[in-house]
């Protein structure tokens, strides 16, 4: 039977057939991925060698020759020529790094405060708990945090703020400034995105542009040194509070630009549909525009969060005792001099745990 190729009518239904199987075997797949051409093969081999060499070196330094405990002999064990990483210094200093100069015998209180914040993070991360009750949860978390850190009630010894330090300070500073910065950023973004000129819009544009073109360090000095000069002598805001305000406003400027990008992805039809249904301005904003805008730029929002979480380490310059300041103090101990690498690696791991968690979590949110 010859098929005419200019006109054609099917005479039979073609039944589905199984797809031909791919060439099997791990070697076939590996070759296709890593050795498909001479250049790919060369890259694969070269990078593998570098990677293996680095791993071997690190394991040799960090595990094989490492000193995990000095026993009773002190830091001199680590100074032997054949000694590798001195993890003993981390064991010695981790309480200083985590809790700063908080009174040593009261360290259970900042530890508990970190745990309480952790519970807050975990509850907030669970999508099915997202409701107004979360606000209540956070009020409780912050009050408990305050009681544990400050003391002075419930029979807890009062610990003044200048003795707080380490991880609880880093976490509370990052959490509060981003929590305060986010709504400010939303308002700024909405003002800047509004089609009509207004005084509010002018202020928003000026604020965003100025904040973005001034270094964070300068803002911090401004907050910690200059503001007290302008305040009456009997008014004193705590340094932590002033730095918190500076961070909130600074992060708000960056977040505002990200959120504005999200607002610009919303098609006009969404506004028109809301108008046509007779929805009020607030309902339109809160139920239709903002949820879509946030989701559209979620990766960029998380990016700002991560950047600012790390940027809190800059409070070192105004003498707030966060994790980074504590690490510097630990490194400066004359008895343990020369082991900065180990201490900074440890601090790096702390930051990595939080940033990586944020990054992974935002990836699961984005999948929806």
């Amino acid at each position: 039977m010859k098929q005419d190729d200019s006109t054609f009518v099917a005479t039979a239904e073609i039944a589905p057939r199984p797809r031909p199987s791919e060439p099997a075997g791990w070697w076939v797949r590996t070759r296709a991925l890593y050795f498909s051409s001479p250049a790919t093969s060369a890259t694969t081999i070269l990078l593998s060698i570098v990677l293996i060499w680095l791993c071997v070196r690190f394991v040799d330094w960090g595990v094989v020759r490492a000193v995990f405990s000095t026993g009773s002999q002190g830091p001199d064990v680590c100074r032997q020529p054949e000694a590798g990483a001195c993890w003993a210094v981390v064991a010695e200093k981790f309480r200083l790094i985590l809790f700063g100069v908080y009174p040593y015998e009261l360290h259970w209180r900042p530890a508990l405060a970190i745990a309480v914040l952790g519970v807050g993070y975990l509850l907030s991360a669970m999508r099915k708990l997202w409701s107004r009750r979360l606000v209540g949860v956070w009020i409780v978390v912050l009050v408990v945090y305050g009681i544990l850190m400050r003391g002075g009630i419930l029979g807890l010894v009062h610990v003044p703020e200048d003795q707080w330090g380490g991880l609880p300070v880093t976490l509370i500073l990052a959490t509060l400034s981003l929590a305060a910065g986010f709504p400010i950023a939303t308002v700024l973004a909405l003002l800047r995105n509004s089609p009509r000129p207004s005084v509010g819009k002018a202020i928003a544009v000026a604020f965003i542009e100025i904040a973005r073109s001034v270094p964070l360090v300068a803002v911090l000095f401004l907050a910690s040194v200059m503001i007290p000069l302008f305040l009456p002598a009997d008014v004193s805001l705590s340094k932590l509070f002033r730095v918190f305000v500076a961070f909130s406003l600074f992060s708000a400027a960056y977040l505002a630009e990200v959120i504005r990008g999200g607002l610009q992805t919303i098609p006009r039809g969404q506004y028109e549909a809301a108008e046509a249904l007779g929805l009020g301005k607030m309902v339109t904003l809160l139920k239709i525009i903002l949820p879509q805008a946030y989701v559209a730029v979620l990766p960029a929002i998380v990016n700002v969060f991560i950047a600012f979480f790390k940027a809190t380490s800059i409070v070192v310059v105004v003498g707030i005792f966060d994790v980074m300041t504590a690490a510097q103090r630990a490194v400066a101990d004359p008895m343990w001099q020369g082991f900065g690498t180990e201490i900074y690696l440890f601090v790096g791991v702390i930051y990595f745990v939080f940033c990586f968690a944020m990054s992974r979590y935002s990836a699961t949110l984005g999948q929806r």
Partner: protein, 252 residues
């Protein structure tokens, strides 16, 4: 209430309406009124101003001179809050404009609940019955992105009906649909017309106009050129540009 005096005739009354986009005179001396229960179809070549006109009726587009009485409220140039008028006028868009982050049911209940018109449960019940009427009840808990264009447009119709509007505006409701889905949406609109809903409809579907319209309005260049009942409009158009338009549209 805004509609207290609006129960008489007509339900939409457009007088001497003029609109400009920058310096372009987009709507020119438009006069048109729509009686309760009447079905008016507006047609014309693209760029003729028909979409602009229908969007002026619920104040989504501003206009510069003239007035529109809708359900007893008067729209005038530079007016502030049109929310109350809009709650009595349903609108269906070419691009559906469903809220993609909400389920079909949430799309339908948001407006009646947030405007305080219905309690959450009543709104749900009304929405489900309307979704059943447009044959998408089984998709009530899906998101718009999971539905076909025809299904989305039927949801959009149900969403508008949830506000119990006194008049429905359709802005080219089938123009963004794949051809095989046009019929299901038109059938839904025909059902709605048969139930006595007042409708103003911009469309290129001449079959729909012939079957459903009480009057057909032909626009070109921002101007109404001809208004006639469908029988006369299609059999013996009077304006030469109507004749040319119908030749182009029908002789294919």
């Amino acid at each position: 209430m805004a509609h207290s005096s609006g129960d008489g005739w007509p339900i939409v009354d457009i007088r001497n309406l003029n609109k400009w986009y920058e310096d372009y005179h987009a709507l020119r001396d438009i006069n048109l009124s729509v009686a309760p229960g009447e079905r008016v179809v507006i047609c014309g070549p693209s760029g003729s101003g028909k979409s602009s006109l229908i969007r002026c009726i619920n104040g989504i587009e501003p206009f510069q001179t003239g007035s529109i009485d809708v359900c007893g409220s008067r729209l005038e140039p530079g007016q502030g809050d049109l929310t109350l008028v809009r709650r009595q006028v349903g609108m269906v868009f070419q691009q559906f404009n469903l809220f993609p982050h909400m389920t079909v049911l949430e799309n339908c209940t948001l407006a009646p609940v947030s405007t305080g018109r219905l309690a959450a449960r009543e709104a749900s019940e009304l929405a489900m019955s309307l979704l059943a009427r447009v044959h998408v009840a089984e998709h009530a808990h899906k998101y718009p992105g999971q539905l076909s264009g025809g299904q989305q447009q039927r949801v959009a119709i149900a969403r508008a009906l949830c506000m119990k509007p006194r008049v429905m505006l359709f802005d080219e409701p089938t123009s963004a649909l794949d051809p095989e889905m046009v019929k299901e949406v038109l059938d839904t609109m025909i059902d709605l017309a048969n139930e006595g809903m007042t409708m103003v409809c911009v469309t290129h579907e001449m079959g729909f106009a012939r079957q459903v319209a009480d009057r057909v309005v032909f626009m070109d260049n921002g101007q109404i050129l001809e208004i006639a009942p469908p029988a006369a409009f299609f059999a013996s158009p009077r304006h030469e540009r109507t004749q040319a338009f119908l030749r182009d549209v029908l002789d294919r």
